[in-house]
């Protein structure tokens, strides 16, 4: 099922949570809504589900305008951040709830409901735990019950709010891979909300980066990582460093010398963004960004150093090989291998 969000604005008591958001989700896609807290990602998810109504704009499921439909009529599978399992019901009763509450005409027979629920529990690898109560399950198991319960109603779209937020790091990684497998098997159109960029980049077909109620960038994990289209995306996804540069005649200048980097921006001041690991060290006499090492720490296989560079109050971070001889107060020069220049804000 295609989902189309068209010009949606949402205000809570006059406080805007989303400004004019539009998003096309293709059938069978796995989409991540990624952003810091307060960016509006959960609001967007809840609008798609019908748990909130937009102040302006529309939500389409296929060609059908779903904006006017209630959450019950939209037939979406929603997995809540803390799962919201019914604590007084057993696992199997939780999973079969959505089928049991259907009106008589479309409700499957008791045996059929039981069969389908058991099948789903089998699918999420929880067979044998049918009679348990949610309080008797681990976090990862509850998460899987919540997913099975959402899938039981044969939803047109699967929506997950911070699906791994409440789990510890190890379980998170396992479930992440497992969710991808589930998605590849069932081909449900799936949207999930996360503030964890690793999760979004690893799992999603496309990532929607959000900030302050707006969509900053929509793209594949490669696109948003390699070609961020704004300073926000650059600094939010992956590590980034930035420094002030001048643009003269289509070339970048730093501290009175040309860097040998061309730019199609108009002359003036700009901000040069690059990844700390994506640089080459050069001889200090060559054209590049030179600075004095003020701090150095070992990060895994590499060493991360902070450079005090000319004319900048903030230090610039770069990564160098762990066996590099640089110590504090050494001078080092480098040039980014990939970069982007944005107007100075």
């Amino acid at each position: 099922m295609d989902v189309r969000v068209s010009g949606v604005r949402k205000e809570f008591d006059r406080f805007p949570a989303l400004h004019d958001v539009s998003l096309d989700i293709n059938s069978g896609e796995l989409i991540a809504l990624l952003g810091p807290s307060g960016s509006g990602k959960t609001t967007l998810l809840r609008l798609i589900a019908g748990l909130e109504t937009p102040t302006e704009g529309k939500v389409f499921f296929g060609d059908e305008d779903a904006s006017l439909k209630s959450v019950q009529e939209r037939n979406v599978g929603f997995v809540f951040q803390h799962y919201a399992l019914f604590r007084h019901m057993t696992v199997i009763d939780n999973v079969s709830f959505g089928l049991k509450v259907r009106p008589g005409s479309s409700r499957p027979s008791k045996d059929e409901i039981r069969r389908r629920s058991s099948e789903l529990l089998d699918f999420v690898q929880l067979s044998g735990l049918e009679k348990r109560y949610p309080a008797q399950l681990s976090g990862g198991q509850r998460q899987r019950v919540a997913l099975a319960r959402a899938m039981a109603i044969e939803p047109r779209v699967l929506l997950l709010d911070e699906p791994f937020g409440a789990l510890d790091a190890k379980v998170r990684k396992e479930l992440r891979r497992w969710l991808r497998e589930i998605h590849d098997k069932t081909k449900h159109t799936t949207v999930f909300v996360t503030h964890d960029q690793d999760e979004a980049l690893e799992l999603a077909d496309r990532v929607v980066v959000m900030s302050q109620g707006r969509i900053e960038q929509i793209g594949t994990p490669d696109e948003v990582y390699d070609r961020p289209n704004s300073p926000f995306v650059y600094s939010f996804i992956g590590e980034s460093s930035s420094t002030e540069v001048q643009i003269k005649n289509g070339e970048l200048w730093f501290d009175g010398q040309a860097l040998g980097i061309s730019s199609d921006r108009p002359d003036g001041e700009g901000m040069l963004y690059f990844r700390p690991h994506d640089i080459e060290l050069i001889d200090a006499s060559n054209r590049g960004i030179a600075g004095t090492v003020v701090a150095s720490r070992r990060v895994g296989a590499t060493r991360r150093i902070e450079l005090a560079i000319a004319g900048a109050t903030d230090h610039v971070e770069i990564e160098i090989p762990a066996d590099h001889p640089a110590t504090e107060t050494s001078r080092i020069a480098f040039r980014p291998k990939h970069w982007r220049v944005f107007p100075k804000s």
């Binding site: 959450v71 019950q72 037939n75 979406v76 929603f78 019914f86 509450v101 319960r149 959402a150």
Partner: protein, 293 residues
């Protein structure tokens, strides 16, 4: 104070001087509390039963075979059986509205629910007298329709309901607020309608809190004196509830009968207390499960 001063004679305790002192203080505090309890709660309770059985069990039982006493017991049961279920419905509805929805005037409604607690029961009764007496606007019209409110069962039920209104709502509001709305949202997203969501999800989540509220509400409904006294008219065998009957018997110096009926009310209080304690044990565990979920 003599308990606290003076050297400690027990040689094993000298090493743990600090603890010993605390223990002394604990004894004093516990002693004071127990003395208060004995004086103000246990003693009166015991004296109720002592007075009731002063002339032996035959006299005690005779107090209940009197038609007026039986009428009072029947009326009390009838009033409670009407007032408590209605207050359960109102209480659940009010708590649901306050805990699950945002609307203007919510703070005002919450305060309003507490009103019966802050108003003297006599005033609560007088309000109904003003509303339904023959001098009021409503009274003559109701009379012409053949509906008796004051000095009849409907007035007693109304006064009782007013006084006991907050018990269920007050118990449920904090509970429902703590539970939030995600369970309901989950049920709705799975296709349940409003009634199914309430019946299968909300109600099971609040059942222990609800039972607790019903218990307190019932105890108060059966025991209410002030408001009921104002509206009842004290017609023997017709509009006397148990508390009113006790008063009449007492004023007639019929102490054994008065205390016999009073002992029934005291028993009700004891049963309520035991059930409440049991529920608290159960309900506390339930709440902890909510927190750990």
């Amino acid at each position: 104070m003599a308990l606290e001063s003076g050297p400690v004679t027990d040689p094993t305790a000298t090493a743990r001087h600090a603890t010993t002192e605390r223990r002394t203080a604990r004894f004093v505090l516990t002693g004071i509390a127990l003395a208060f309890l004995a004086l103000f709660l246990v003693l009166p309770l015991v004296s109720v039963f002592v007075e009731a059985f002063r002339k032996g069990p035959t006299e005690y039982l005779a107090a209940f075979s009197e038609p007026d006493a039986q009428a009072a017991i029947r009326l009390t049961l009838l009033v409670a059986s009407i007032a408590v279920p209605l207050n359960v419905v109102f209480g659940v509805v009010a708590a649901w509205a306050i805990a699950k929805f945002e609307f203007k005037g919510k703070a005002f409604l919450t305060t309003l629910i507490d009103l019966p607690f802050s108003v003297s029961p006599v005033i609560s009764g007088l309000v109904y007298v003003l509303l339904f007496s023959s001098q009021s606007a409503l009274g003559p019209w109701l009379k012409s329709q053949g509906i008796e409110i004051l000095f009849a069962v409907p007035g007693i039920v109304l006064a009782t309901m007013f006084v006991t209104f907050p018990f269920v709502a007050r118990e449920l509001i904090p509970l429902m607020q703590e539970q939030g709305t995600t369970d309901e949202e989950a049920a709705l997203s799975l296709g349940a309608n409003g009634w199914q969501t309430f019946w299968h999800v909300t109600l099971p989540n609040i059942k222990w809190g609800l039972l607790y509220g019903v218990l307190l509400c019932n105890a108060r409904a059966m025991g209410e004196f002030g408001a009921v006294s104002v509206v009842s008219g004290h017609i023997r065998g017709l509009t006397n509830t148990m508390p009113l009957h006790v008063e009449i018997l007492y004023n007639e110096y019929n102490f054994v009968a008065a205390f016999a009926v009073a002992s029934l009310l005291a028993l009700l209080a004891l049963v309520t207390l035991v059930l409440k304690t049991l529920l608290e044990l159960r309900y506390g565990a339930e709440l902890r499960a909510v927190g750990g979920h």
